[in-house]
Symmetry: C2
Subunit: 90 residues, 2 copies
């Protein structure tokens, strides 16, 4: 079965986020005062797996090994089963 | 009023995404065949504004001037009004 995967990666609380700090300072130079700026990344892709649990186990392994650094990052995994039943065939 | 803002920035269709290409190739080196890899960025912050429309106009200006490059990026803006009514005061 094919699954649509979305991994959301964010820094753990307390970790410095230079990108967010730079964005906040730059916005204030533009005249916009904002607070609590944070950045997250979303990585999405399509993959084949036996089941949702199988997909979750594989994606978790991908996160641990490549997609993020478990020491400084939190990550969440969203899995959507792709439904290829053709509307006109039903 | 305070608003919780979330800006999601993604590349327009047809734009090369070296980061996504690198992720897809690296995953296949790990033994995971995935397709259609994409990356997006989420920038979130808190800001003060007169109304939701005022907040949207300001954030749109921030996107045009700083948060993304309108030539190569699409962006979506999510605005949530922050409700400070204290539960025990009601």
């Amino acid at each position: 079965m094919m699954y649509d995967i979305e991994v959301k990666v964010s820094l753990k609380a307390g970790m410095l986020n230079p990108e967010a700090t730079t964005i906040q300072r730059s916005l204030s130079l533009l005249g916009y005062e904002v607070k609590g700026t944070k950045t997250k990344e979303i990585i999405s892709f399509v993959m084949e797996a036996e089941s949702e649990d199988d997909a979750r186990a594989k994606v978790d392994d991908m996160c641990q090994k490549l997609l993020c650094n478990p020491i400084i990052h939190n990550y969440t995994i969203k899995i959507i089963k792709m439904d290829f039943t053709c509307a006109s065939c039903e």
